[in-house]
């Protein structure tokens, strides 16, 4: 199992990267007692046949062995709080998934270090366009790598000083949006 939501975000986004996505949107929305994680990409998508098997641990795209636990783990993490999970995909268009957690359920995973996840994803795939949205019914924070690139004017986004700044910037956003909403954010 993965111990927090930021690790699930990292793991699920690796699927988008492997699918050749150019754009990945990561959205965390806390509303009406539920925390939803939505990840969308414009990668190669999945056939209806692959999509129907993707929640099965004995389905994987990897070749080293015959199990793939990323999506089954995430689905279980959501459902064990009383939440839900769905995934849609279209070949050539991309994939979208949404998992919802009941915020006050004792089994709900903590958010984890969202800044470090996004920072490391940018370090790994600096050419990808990431849009990260943090949202409640009152407030919203949006981080967009295209806006960062505009400020950087050609300086590599995956320089560690820049990545470090991005980590802190995003975690400040997490504190502003989810402080007082999720117990672990203080």
């Amino acid at each position: 199992m993965l111990r927090d939501i930021s690790l699930h975000i990292h793991d699920l986004t690796e699927n988008s990267i492997a699918a050749g996505a150019r754009l990945v949107t990561i959205k965390l929305v806390a509303e009406n007692g539920m925390l939803a994680l939505e990840i969308g990409d414009n990668g190669k998508g999945m056939s209806p046949e692959m999509l129907s098997r993707v929640e099965d641990p004995f389905t994987t795209s990897r070749t080293e062995r015959k199990v793939g636990m990323g999506i089954p783990f995430f689905k279980l993490a959501c459902e064990q709080t009383g939440g839900d999970f769905k995934i849609t995909s279209e070949p050539g268009k991309g994939t979208e998934l949404r998992g919802r957690f009941v915020i006050d359920n004792i089994d709900r995973l903590p958010l984890g270090d969202i800044g470090e996840t996004v920072g490391m994803l940018i370090y790994e795939s600096p050419d990808l366009h990431y849009i990260v949205t943090l949202k409640t019914s009152e407030d919203e924070f949006v981080f967009d790598t295209d806006e960062v690139r505009e400020q950087l004017e050609g300086t590599p986004i995956n320089d560690f000083e820049i990545v470090q700044w991005i980590k802190e910037y995003i975690n400040e956003g997490v504190l502003n949006i989810f402080g007082g909403v999720l117990d672990e954010i203080t």
Binding site: L2, D11, M120, F160, I162
Partner: protein, 122 residues
């Protein structure tokens, strides 16, 4: 409250000599970043390598990631591959071990034998 404009000041500090190098002679540090690696703690390990390499201003090292290496029980796994293709495989890594590998292996050229797959797998 941070604002994106701060990046303009920050980028002046960034030593932008990446473009002068082709990277062909670089040592590669490859971190396994599949579900098994992430569950075992690969992300802080990767962060530690990137941070240490940057802090020490080491120029001939690239930190990259790969998928599952097929040895999930030994994750987080890190391979250090020199310019001639010689490979050292470190297993069950964490951020502290990563800092030591940077100092002893990448800077001084001494493999940290006790963290290697040969010392751990039995």
């Amino acid at each position: 409250m941070k604002s994106l404009e701060e990046l303009r000041a920050l980028k002046a500090k960034v030593k932008n000599d990446m473009s002068l190098r082709d990277g062909a002679d670089d040592t590669r540090v490859v971190v396994g970043m599949a579900t098994c690696g992430i569950a075992a703690g690969a992300r802080p390990v990767m962060n530690a390598f990137v941070e240490e390499v940057s802090k020490r201003n080491i120029k001939n090292v690239q930190v990259t990631m790969t998928g599952c290496m097929g040895l999930c029980r030994l994750e987080p796994i890190v391979e250090v591959i020199d310019k001639d293709g010689n490979k050292v495989t470190y297993v069950k890594m964490n951020a502290e071990k990563a800092a030591r590998v940077v100092a002893e292996h990448l800077v001084n050229g001494h493999v940290v034998s006790e963290y290697t797959i040969g010392a751990t797998a039995q």
